[in-house]
Structures are given as structure tokens and as C-alpha cells.
Subunit: 207 residues, 4 copies
């Protein structure tokens, strides 16, 4: 049976959310567990490649060292929160057109290597469900860029922006800014990690 | 008949949108025209007090000179766009809690003089109707502050944020960033000035 | 002798640097100690009124409650770091002309109460001594505003910006960003608290 | 004689200052004129490649199309103003460490093609000569990065930051913000274009 397929190497390429997602309790170990329960433990090797504070051009700059050097079959790209957030926290966010340019450059280089790509939209900076979080406009806009790129390049898509919004409408009646899916408005709590794990697994196993 | 009431002095206190709204074609002349058509030309004296680039604390600083010195009976307060916009265009926007504090200080001082107040929420920075304009999150949040203040202090409210959004959903099928109600994403075109004039007049004449 | 003068009430009005300066080891206890050694313990009552994150308009908003309610004879005003810093850390710094307006409003109100004022320029955000710290331009500019106000209104001046720069040129040969007078580029370490205490005491006792 | 050397192709790679510098009256035509006067008109072909609003990573993204496609022998790199300025004008400046990374990537790629490089530090955003222009700290810091890169990679250097500062100290006794070497605090007037032309020519002809 093992002759029929090799273990697929899956790299999770992103920022601090991915960095934390690779730790115990994070969405990557949760995906491993789910794969084991499905008897697929040997089919996929899940590899975290998240670095705190990363924006799209940081991914671009370290793509060779941190992704291609791993010889991946599949790459999840989960970026965008800092591109938006750093506009007001450091004055060094990423213009939306440059976001698209660097994202496109990453996609092109990885597709050239025949890597299967699954793009993720940035989930939340603040969990209020009525679009009153400061960065909601930009997060909606940058997510739209990612949706368009997924369609244009025939990549998979885990639309976390949409998934989280739907979840918050149902499960955040008090319109809280954090504590439903995040610890601190951005980084995932247990429920957030489980939701991301479920949706990423679904995308990974979809064909 | 004219013995029964004096002319009401109405000051429009705001930023560049109000400054331009006082010019020919702006919403203030449009309101005058509508009052004339209703035979109410002598009942209201409409006075523009808008200054380009103003934020809530600019209103606070010039309130004595530009509003109280006019002995107004009624004041429209229309502020908030620059408090949000200047965060990324100059790095000098207004924190939402300070926005509320200065707005409250203005309300308190004007109510002390028994002036009738009508608050306006900030309409738009970009006319896209799916909450993908960069500042939509903040505009929604700051508008909510203004709605709460109107309720708390029993002021009138012209909820331009809501009014414009409803209008854009109906009349902006192409999801354009400007050209429907604004010239440039912020400042009003003819249709925008007419819409604001209609809604402000409604609020002025409501009791 | 004690009949000839009452204890002078001295309020230190500022941001987190002043808030921390009121704690054990801070410049305010160090000034008390120095006054005691000079036999002046009963001549001055030193009162901290610093709040973390404050900008000039925060001082303005809480001046009645936190300063005038103390019936001070003398007020040190030490503000400006956050007015500059928050431009890039939150997008909500203070425009230099508004900084001057609110600072002037504070001075006018306190001088009306015949309070003796001693103004302090903002020391540092980063201790590098060759003007390569990100905010050096703005700190120099805002300090110049304060120097001009001190002269215009005949207030005392503790020019911490100049004092720190001179100190760094002598004592920071490695051009470090922190660790000479600050813990973290902004907040004072022991040497910083001592330097501020020395210079403020000098200004307090000058006539 | 023409057998002994071919015409050297010189590309000026930069932002709006370079874009304007290629126009009549700009520093590039001024350099051509000076070369003609020296009898060197046929030795150098000067080619403008400036695009308004560019930051270091914009140069990186268009390097193949706009520089390498020109087969240059020599490239002047003149970038950095927008990397600093956009921090507060759009919230999308470039972090200093990323500035260095992308600058280094550009240098490496051009040196691989055996192109002679001459780096320029960013001159001014505001001409006040006492380091009170808002961005002076950052401009000093980013210029230091460029000086270090020039040394590390054995590139030529036109240290416009230093050259302009020296000029302003002599020729701007009124400490004006613009009008000495710039039209508007940033873009060069006649004197500015001539100064840049003189210094770049000096560097071009130096060996």
C-alpha cells in the first residue's frame, strides 16, 4: 500500500499565529491528531514555518530558506494580519497593491515548483461581529485580494475571514472584542485553534 | 405671526465637508432653498462653521469663537472623518476614547447654554458598500460612539453613516470607491449634498 | 521662621515617566531626599500626578481633577513623548500646532491661578547620540515649542532634551539605544532618575 | 579612439526625485551638459528610471524590467525618502531592518551582473538645519544603513544626506523648511538639481 503514495510534506507558512499554531494545543498538532484518528498519520508530514511579526514580504524574503528547503508538496499560506495591523502600530504596514504583488510573486515561485497551494485569508484583529473593529475595512479588502488570487491561480482557499465572521455572528452575542476564538483579539485560543484545524484539514483532504 | 417666534440661528459646526457645504451648491444653500420653498425662509438663519482638517478637539478649541459667539439656538455637529483618517495620513488621528471625551465636553458646554444639538455620524471615507474601505471599521466604531452620545444626552441625530450605507447598497452596484455621493471618496458631490440637505432638514424640522 | 512661609505644594504633571518617577527610586522620592538633606523637608510637599500614555490633551482634560484640586503653588509640566511616539505606535500622535495650542491652554489656566510653572522638554525616545533615533526630529521640534512657550510665558524650564543629549555625548560612547539613562529607550533607570531629580531640584530652588 | 572604450550605460534608479531629475532642468540633463562640456558626451549614456512613490521594495520588484533590461554598466541607487515618509503619510513605510534586507538583495543581484554601483543616501524631508524636521531621526538612521552597505559591498557613495546638511548649515541661516534646495521640502529646485548633478558627476568620474 505504501508503494502507492509517499508521505506528503505540508508546510504552514505564516506569522505568529502559525508560529503559535505549531506549538502543543495549536492547530497543527490538532490536525496531526485528526489525521491519526482517520488513519492518515503516515500520509502527511505537517511542518510549521511561522515567524512572529511577519508580513507578506517577509515570507517572500525567507521563502527559499524556510519553505523550498523543506521540499514541500503542499503549502498553506496564512498571512495578512501584520500587513494591515502594522499601519498603525509601527507605520510600516503593506500597501494593498504591494501586498498583491509580493503575494503573487510567492505564488508564482511555488507553483513553478509544482507545489499545491492553499491560501488563507486573515481572520480577525478584534472579534466584534458588526464591523466596528478598527482594521475591519482593511481586513475585508486584503481578504478579497487573497480570494481573487486563489481563483486566478486555481489555489485552494481557507477563507478564515468569512469563517470567523460567520462563527462570531452565532457565538458572540455580547459582541466582545476577544475571548471567543482569540486570546487577545488576534492569537487563537483553544476554540480558535480547533476551528482553524477543522477547516484547514477539510481543505487539505479536499481534491 | 412673526411676533410669535424669532428667527432660529443654526450653526453647522464641522470640518471641510461642512466648509464646502456652505458654498454654492453645498448642503447649506440647498437647505435654505428648501426652507424658502416651505415658506420658512425667515424662521431659520443657517450659518456655516466648518474648517478643513478639523478633528473633534479642533472643534473644542474653537467652540467659543466660532459657535458661542454666534449665539446659536441650534447646532449641528458633524465631525469624525479626520479623527479616523489622520491615523494613517498624518499619524495624528484621535483615539476613540479621547474622541468621546472631547465630544462629550463640547455637548456639555453647548447644552449648558440651552442650545439644541443635532449630532451627525461621519458618512464615508470611500463609498464601497461591502465594508472593504480601509477606514470602515473605525468609521463604524466612531459612529457608534456618536449614536450613544445622542441617546445619552437626548440630542437629535442625523446618522449619515447609516444613511449613506443604505444609499450605496441601492445605488452603487459597481461597488465604486467614489462618484456616487462623493467627488473623491470623502467630499460631497451634488447628489451627496442633496442627500445631506434632505436629511438635515428633516432633523431640523422634527420636534 | 516657619511662620514666614507655608509649605509649597508642588505637583508633577505628566505621563508614565512621571508616574514611575513617583515610585520608590524615582526622581520624586530622590528630590524629597535631597530636600531633607538640605533641611528643606518641610518647605515642599511633592505630589506625583503622572498617568501612563498621556499626551498634552490628556493633561488638559484632567487638569481640574488632578492638578487644581491639589491647590498647588508650583507645577512641573513634563509631557510630549507620547504626542510624538503615538504617531507611529497608534496613529494618534498630536500635530505640533495642536500640541502648542493645548500646552498654551494649560499654561494660561494655571497662570490664572497664580501657580508657578516649570516646563520640561521631552528627554528621549532612544538614547543614540547622533540623532539617528526614529523620533529625534520630532522630539527636537516639540522641545523647541516648549522652550518658546517657557520664554513667552516667563516660566521655568528644565530642558531635559538638551540635558540628556549633552549627557549622552559624554557617557554613551558606544551609541547605545538604551541602558545609559533609560531602561527601555524611554523610561528612566537609576542614573536617569538621579539626573532628572538633580535638574528639577535646581529649577525648583532657583528664583 | 572609440575602439578603446564603449559608451557606458548609466541607469538612475529611484523615486519621484529621480523621475523629476530626468526632466528638463533636472540633475540628469545637467549631468549630460557637464559631460558634453568635458568632451565626454559619447562616453556615458544617462538613463532615468525613477518612479514616483517608490520605496526600496518597489525598486526590488521592478529591477529586472527597468534596470537589468537596460544592460547598464553603472547604476545609481537613490531611494529611502518614501520608506521613511510613508510611515506617517500612509502607515506603510519600511522597517529599517527590511530596508536593509531589500537594499542588500538589490545590491547582490546587480553586483552579480558586474554592474558598478553608486549608492545615494536620502537627502531631506524638510530643510531645517537643526534636526527639527519630523523625519530627521529616521533619515539619519536609514542613511547610516546605506553608508554601511556602500562600505561593505565596496560601492560608490554620494552621501546626499551629509552634503545637503552641510549646504543648509551654510546657506539656510533662516532655518527654512523649503526653498533652499527643494521646492516643497523634498523635490529639488534648480539649486538642488545642480548640487546633486555636481556630486553625482564627481562620483561617476571617480575611480
Amino acid at each position: 500500500m505504501s508503494l502507492r503514495h509517499k508521505t506528503q510534506r505540508v508546510v504552514f507558512f505564516g506569522d505568529s499565529i502559525t508560529e503559535q499554531g505549531a506549538k502543543p494545543g495549536g492547530y497543527i498538532p490538532r490536525m496531526k491528531e485528526a489525521l491519526t484518528q482517520k488513519g492518515l498519520a503516515n500520509d502527511y508530514d505537517l511542518i510549521g514555518a511561522g515567524v512572529g511579526g511577519n508580513k507578506v514580504y517577509d515570507l517572500y524574503l525567507r521563502m527559499d530558506d524556510d519553505v523550498l528547503a523543506q521540499n514541500p508538496d503542499i503549502v498553506f499560506i496564512y498571512i495578512g494580519v501584520n500587513d494591515v495591523w502594522h499601519k498603525t502600530s509601527f507605520g510600516t504596514g503593506t500597501d494593498i497593491d504591494k501586498f498583491e504583488k509580493f503575494y503573487t510573486a510567492i505564488i508564482n515561485k511555488l507553483l513553478d515548483k509544482h507545489i499545491r497551494l492553499i491560501l488563507c485569508s486573515p481572520a480577525v484583529i478584534g472579534e466584534k461581529n458588526d464591523f466596528t473593529n478598527q482594521q475591519d475595512g482593511d481586513l475585508n479588502g486584503y481578504s478579497q485580494v487573497i480570494r481573487n488570487l486563489a481563483q486566478k491561480f486555481h489555489c485552494g482557499l481557507v477563507d478564515l475571514r468569512e469563517i470567523f465572521h460567520t462563527y462570531e455572528l452565532k457565538n458572540n452575542p455580547g459582541n466582545k472584542a476577544f475571548g471567543i476564538l482569540t486570546l487577545d483579539r488576534v492569537h487563537l485560543n483553544d476554540a480558535g485553534n480547533q476551528l482553524v484545524a477543522d477547516k484547514m484539514l477539510e481543505a487539505l483532504l479536499a481534491k
